[in-house]
Amino acid sequence: MLVVNDLHATVDGKTILNGLNLTVNPGEVHAIMGPNGSGKSTLGHVLAGRPGYEATAGSVHYMGNDLFVQDTEERARNGLFLAFQYPVEIPGVSNMEFLKASVDAAREHRGETALDAVSFMKMAREASKTVDLDPAFLKRGVNEGFSGGEKKRNELMQMLLLQPSLAIMDETDSGLDIDALQVVAAGVNSMRNESRSFVLVTHYQRLLNFIEPDFVHVLSGGRIVRSGDKSLALELEERGYAWIEDEVA
C-alpha cells in the first residue's frame, strides 16, 4: 500500500524529516506518535503534496507507484486521503458543492459516472448523520464558522463519502471531547477492512483505546526510532517520550 523509504523533507528550507522509513500493508492500522516538532504532521503534508513541503531525498511508493510524480489531486483520486489537523474555512463555497466535486472526481477517475444530485444528497445526508453533524452544515460554506469538533466531523464525513484506500488522520483526536472522539473512532472502525489502511497521527494514547492499531511507531527527530504493537502506546503514556529519545541519542 505505502512504502516510505529513507524520506527526507524540508519545510520552508528547514529539514524536518530525516530518513523516515515506513511500510503500511493493506488492511493495517498504524499509529504514529511522538513529541511536538518530531515531524508527525509534516509526514501527512508531504504525502498529500502540500506546497512548501518538499521531499529532498528518499522515495514514497503508493500502490506500487512513485507518489511524488503525482499531483495532489491525482493522489486523492487514487485513494489517498489526509484528514487535516486544521481544516480550511472556505466561505462562499458550500459544503455540498465541495463534497460533490470531490466524490465526482473520485468516481470519474474510477470510470464511474457522476452521481445525480438527488442520490448524492441522500448519500451526504446519511454520512452527516453517521458523523453526528447536522445536515444543515451541508449548506454552509466549507468549514465556515464550524467549531473545532465540527470541522473534524466534517473531515470524517469526507472520508466516509470518498472511501479512500489509505487514510492519514492528522491529530483528528486533538481538541475533541469524548463523545466526538467516539464518533470518529466508530467512523474509522466501520471503514476498517482487509484492503483499507489507516495511519493515525496522534499525541495521545486515548484514541487508541477506541481504534486498536496493529503497529505503533515513535517519531523523533524526523525518523521512526521505535516500532511496536499497541503496548508501546501504553508504555509511552506511562513513561513519556524522553526515555526513547535518550536511548536513541
Binding site: E73, I90, G92, F98, A101, A105, G141
Partner: protein, 433 residues
C-alpha cells in the same frame, strides 16, 4: 469634446416633449460649458475616457428583431427598451391596482409631467457628475415609476435596457426616476445587456431614487453588457426619515464602465445597504465610485463591494462616506475586497471616510489578494482539479455577497451566470450550477 455627442443632442431637441424642453436647454448649456474630465481630476484619475473620444451617432430608431428569450423572467412586470426605446410587444405590465404607476416621459400627461419636473434632477449634483448634464441635454424620454404611499408592490419591476448595436458607435440616453411613496415597498431591477458586441454603444444613464418617509426599496442593477459596450452611469438616491434602501450592483466588464452611486441620508433613521461585485476580464475596465452622505443623525450604512480582476483588466473602487457635523449616532461600515487572478491585473481601491461628527461608529477596510494557496490545496487534496478549484474559490469569493441577495429569482439567475463566467470551460463550473 462635446461635439462627439452632438447627434444625440440634436435628435433629442426634435423629439423631446415640449414640457421637457427647458430641461434640455439648460442641460445643453451646461454640457457645452463642461470641461471634459481628464485624468488630472481625482475622480477620473484611474479611468481614461479615451474610448468616448469618437463620434457617436444618435441611437437607431427601431431595432430589427431583438429577441428576449434569454432574458430571465423575474416578474410579470417587465419593461423592455431597445436603444432607449420602449418595446411594448416584449413587455408585460401590471395594472395600476398594484399601487405602482409606470409612465414614460414621452407619454406623460400634464399631472405626471408636473410631478416629474418637480423631482427630476433634485438628487443629482450635476457639477460633480458632468455626464448628468449630457443626460439632461439629450433627454427625449425616460421612465417614471411612481409607487403610491403605503403600497406594497409584490412583483419586482424589471427594466431591461438592451443595446442593439445596430450602429458602430451611438449614444443611448437612459433615465429613470423612482418615487417610492411613504411607507411603500417595491423592488426595481435595472438590467443592461448588449446584442452586438462589436458596437461601441454608449449608454449614459441616470437613475434617481427618491425614498419618502419609511419607504423600503430594493434596487438591483445588473450591468452585464460585454466587449465594446461603453457605460457611464449615475445612481442618485435620496432617503427621507426611516427610509430603507437595499441595493446590489453586479457589473461584468466591457471596454469601459463607470458607475457613480450616491446616497443622501437626508432623514433621520434611514438605512442603506449597498453591496456589489465587479468582474473585469481581458482588457476590460470597471470603475465604481460610491458616495454616502450622512447629513442627519441616526442613519446607518452597510457597504460591501468585492471585485475579481482577471487577465490584463483593471478596476477602480472608490468608496466615500461623508459624515456631516450634525450626523451624530451614525453607524457606517464599508468593506472592499479584491482578488487579482493574474500578474497583469490592476486594482485601484480607495476607501474615503470623512467624519465631522464625534459620536459615530465607522469602519472601513480594503484588501487586495490572490487566491489562497491553502484553500486551493485543501480542495485539490480531495481530488478536485486545480482548474476547478480555482473556479470554485473565485466564485465563492463573490458568492458570499450574491447569497445575500434577497430576491431569490435574481440570486438563482446570477449564480450560474457568474459561475459560467469564471469558467472558460462550462465543465469547470458544473458543481456550482
Amino acid at each position: 469634446m462635446s461635439e462627439h455627442m452632438q447627434a444625440a443632442l440634436d435628435s433629442a431637441a426634435t423629439t423631446a416633449p415640449a414640457w421637457l424642453k427647458d430641461v434640455l436647454h439648460s442641460g445643453r448649456t451646461q454640457w457645452q460649458n463642461t470641461t471634459w474630465p481628464s485624468r488630472k481630476i481625482e475622480a477620473w484619475k484611474y479611468t481614461s475616457l479615451h474610448p468616448l473620444q469618437q463620434t457617436f451617432e444618435a441611437a437607431p430608431d427601431a431595432a430589427s428583431d431583438i429577441g428576449t428569450s434569454d432574458i430571465p423572467d423575474f416578474s410579470e412586470n417587465r419593461l423592455v427598451f431597445v436603444d432607449g426605446k420602449y418595446q411594448a410587444q416584449q413587455s408585460t405590465e401590471c395594472g395600476t391596482d398594484s399601487g405602482v404607476r409606470i409612465v414614460r416621459f414621452a407619454e406623460a400627461g400634464d399631472a405626471d409631467a408636473a410631478r416629474i419636473k418637480e423631482h427630476l434632477g433634485n438628487t443629482v449634483e450635476a457639477n460633480k457628475h458632468v455626464f448628468a448634464n449630457l443626460n439632461n441635454a439629450a433627454l427625449s424620454d425616460g421612465l417614471f415609476i411612481d409607487v403610491a404611499a403605503n403600497a406594497a408592490v409584490d412583483k419586482p419591476i424589471h427594466l431591461v435596457w438592451i443595446s442593439s448595436g445596430e450602429k458602430p458607435a451611438y449614444t443611448v440616453n437612459q433615465r429613470l426616476l423612482v418615487i417610492a411613496g411613504s411607507n411603500s415597498q417595491a423592488t426595481v431591477i435595472e438590467h443592461f445587456i448588449n446584442r452586438n458586441e462589436t458596437s461601441s454603444a454608449f449608454t449614459n444613464g441616470i437613475s434617481e431614487l427618491v425614498l419618502e418617509q419609511g419607504a423600503v426599496l430594493e434596487y438591483y442593477r445588473l450591468n452585464l453588457e460585454r466587449a465594446a459596450a461603453l457605460h457611464v452611469a449615475g445612481i442618485h438616491c435620496h432617503l427621507a426619515d426611516s427610509a430603507c434602501l437595499r441595493s446590489f450592483y453586479a457589473t461584468t466588464g466591457s471596454k469601459l464602465k463607470r458607475l457613480d452611486a450616491v446616497v443622501h441620508h437626508a432623514g433621520s433613521g434611514a438605512h442603506c445597504e449597498m453591496n456589489g461585485i465587479y468582474l473585469p476580464q481581458g482588457s476590460e475596465h470597471i470603475d465604481v465610485h460610491t458616495c454616502i452622505e450622512h447629513a442627519v443623525p441616526h442613519c446607518t450604512t452597510d457597504e460591501n463591494f468585492r471585485g475579481i480582476i482577471a487577465d490584463q483588466s483593471s478596476a477602480v473602487f472608490n468608496g466615500r462616506i461623508h459624515i456631516h457635523p450634525d450626523a451624530q449616532q451614525t453607524r457606517a461600515e464599508l468593506s472592499n475586497r479584491n482578488l487579482l487572478t493574474s500578474d497583469q491585473a490592476e486594482i485601484n481601491t480607495k476607501p474615503e471616510l470623512e467624519i465631522y461628527a464625534d459620536d459615530v461608529q465607522c469602519a472601513h477596510g480594503a484588501t487586495v489578494a490572490q487566491l489562497d494557496e491553502t484553500s486551493l490545496h485543501y480542495l485539490r487534496s480531495r481530488g478536485v482539479s486545480r482548474a476547478e478549484a480555482e473556479v470554485m474559490l473565485s466564485f465563492g469569493f463573490i458568492n458570499e455577497l450574491v447569497d445575500g441577495i434577497r430576491l431569490s429569482a435574481l440570486r438563482d439567475y446570477l449564480r450560474p451566470f457568474l459561475a459560467r463566467r469564471f469558467a472558460g470551460d462550462a465543465e469547470l463550473a458544473r458543481h456550482l450550477l
